[in-house]
């Protein structure tokens, strides 16, 4: 019962803040509501007993990605004026595309056979995650590491001072 109430509250928070993110005029306030929405997703992960995922969500999304978004907004001054309209003239086409996407997503979600397990979540999931990362899923793990390394090296090369 309490879990139901918490789930409803957090879902309303996530969805409400997400709607605010796309409708608020001021881009900086939009990024703040995005941060709130990501926190709500972390709370939903905790309700699902995936604490590791919740903490990683806060660390990666709020601590890194949201900080970078705020950096980008701060460094571009003319986004901050509140007289910029947040909608342009193609809103009818956008509305049609959004409704079609909603129908497709709804059909996919309702027709998938979601498999539920009746066993409880393991009390300590971290050893299981660790051994899965270096055992069964080692190739995606290494490929993701190489991808991050390539991104980092590319950013350093682009932002480097030109040697005279």
């Amino acid at each position: 019962m309490l879990l139901q109430i918490l789930f409803i509250v957090f879902s309303i928070a996530v969805l409400g803040l997400a709607i605010l993110t796309v409708t608020v005029r001021n881009m900086f306030h939009a990024s703040l509501t995005l941060v709130g929405s990501l926190f709500g997703v972390a709370a939903l992960y905790i309700l699902l007993e995936a604490e590791f995922l919740a903490v990683v969500q806060v660390m990666v999304y709020v601590g890194a990605i949201a900080t970078l978004i705020i950096f980008a907004i701060m460094l571009s001054r003319n986004i901050m004026r509140s007289d910029i309209r947040s909608a342009n003239d193609q809103w009818i086409e956008g509305l049609v595309a959004a409704v079609l996407l909603f129908i497709v997503l709804g059909l996919v979600v309702s027709r998938t056979g979601w498999q539920t397990v009746s066993a409880a979540a393991p009390a300590d999931a971290i050893p299981a995650i660790g051994s899965a990362l270096v055992g069964e899923y080692v190739i995606p793990f290494e490929v993701a590491s190489v991808l991050l390394l390539v991104g980092m090296v590319g950013a350093i090369i682009i932002a480097r001072e030109r040697e005279r």
């Binding site: 941060v35 903490v55 806060v58 660390m59 709020v62 705020i70 701060m74 971290i126």
Partner: protein
Amino acid sequence: MNFVSDLFRNIGIWFHTWLSGFLPSWAVLLIDYVLGGIILLVGILVAVLFVIWVERKVVSRLQDRLGPNRVGPWGLFQAVADVLKLLTKELTTPDGAEKISFNLAPLLVVFPTIMILAVIPWSQNIIGSDLNIGVLYIVALGSIGVMATLMAGWSSNNKYALLGGFRVVAQLLSYEIPMVLAMLSVVLLGGTMSMQGLVEAQGGGFLNLPYWRVFVIPLGFLVYFISALAEMERTPFDLLEADSEIVAGFFIEYSGMKFAWFFLASYINTVLLSAIATTTFLGGWQGPFVQRAPVLGIFYFAAKTLLVIVFIFWIRGTFPRFRIDQLMGFAWKVLVPLALIVLLLVAVVVKLPVSPLVQQAILFVSNIAVLLAALGLLGRRLRVATERQRLGGRI
């Protein structure tokens, strides 16, 4: 005697059973949690007042003067006088400041630091919430504080605040990496991410002393301590809030109680990072005879944390500060490689098929060897750079 040997836990159990006599169980749980939160909050605020007094006394004695000695015995209530003064100041808002984030930033800077209080193990049975991902929780909350200082610096509509804000974010993000890697080495040695588990893994042996991580990976402790100094923005890394440099950096435009929140966040951060250093490296509440009398644990913890804090203030009174480029170079070119080497050593040695005592001896010896090698390399580079400067180049 048995009641006193685990005094605080027994008081808690007695209170709980007394409440259960006339309240339903959900009300007892609620009261337990709310009371625990209030005790933690009041405790940390009183500790911060004490730490402010300790800082002013230690730094003033190092500078051959007396420090505050008028308000209360030995100047103990000076912080109270400061808070009263800050309460009476006008809360100015600069013209053109972004009002929502200007007022939100002080709150967002303080809340993550208070939230970290929940996972610190004060004693064997006194901990807010023993999460099995305690270390990761601390790291995640640290990253929220970074965003809040960025908001504070930018929303002040002040170029110096913005510059200070960007530099603070660069410093905090750069020094978070060696800090997390050093904590990760301790997690590898302890085999668990839960803070209480990390302290329990440092027990045993003669007087509960030999397995403290500072005796096993001293280089890891050094890396963690230097990174924590930078995370607290303390000398020698306080370029961004020193009065002679950038006049308070990212919180220039904050006055009165809003400034008091940043001040509070800085001191809570100091106390908490010292507490985390004590928990992960100095053995937390472990000490002689702590299995027979668990109430001693909280005294050992407080003593060790206070030792680390006084050491930090000692360093403040002694060293000059780094330039911003020296700061960043030190983090990325010295601390991160050292932290990675320590992590690699721990990961390799922990899997060797020898007894734990031999493993610890190997780790200790290899740590000292790597530290001496690094000091030798750095010394050679310093000599080369000084020669170059003497001959007319630049360092």
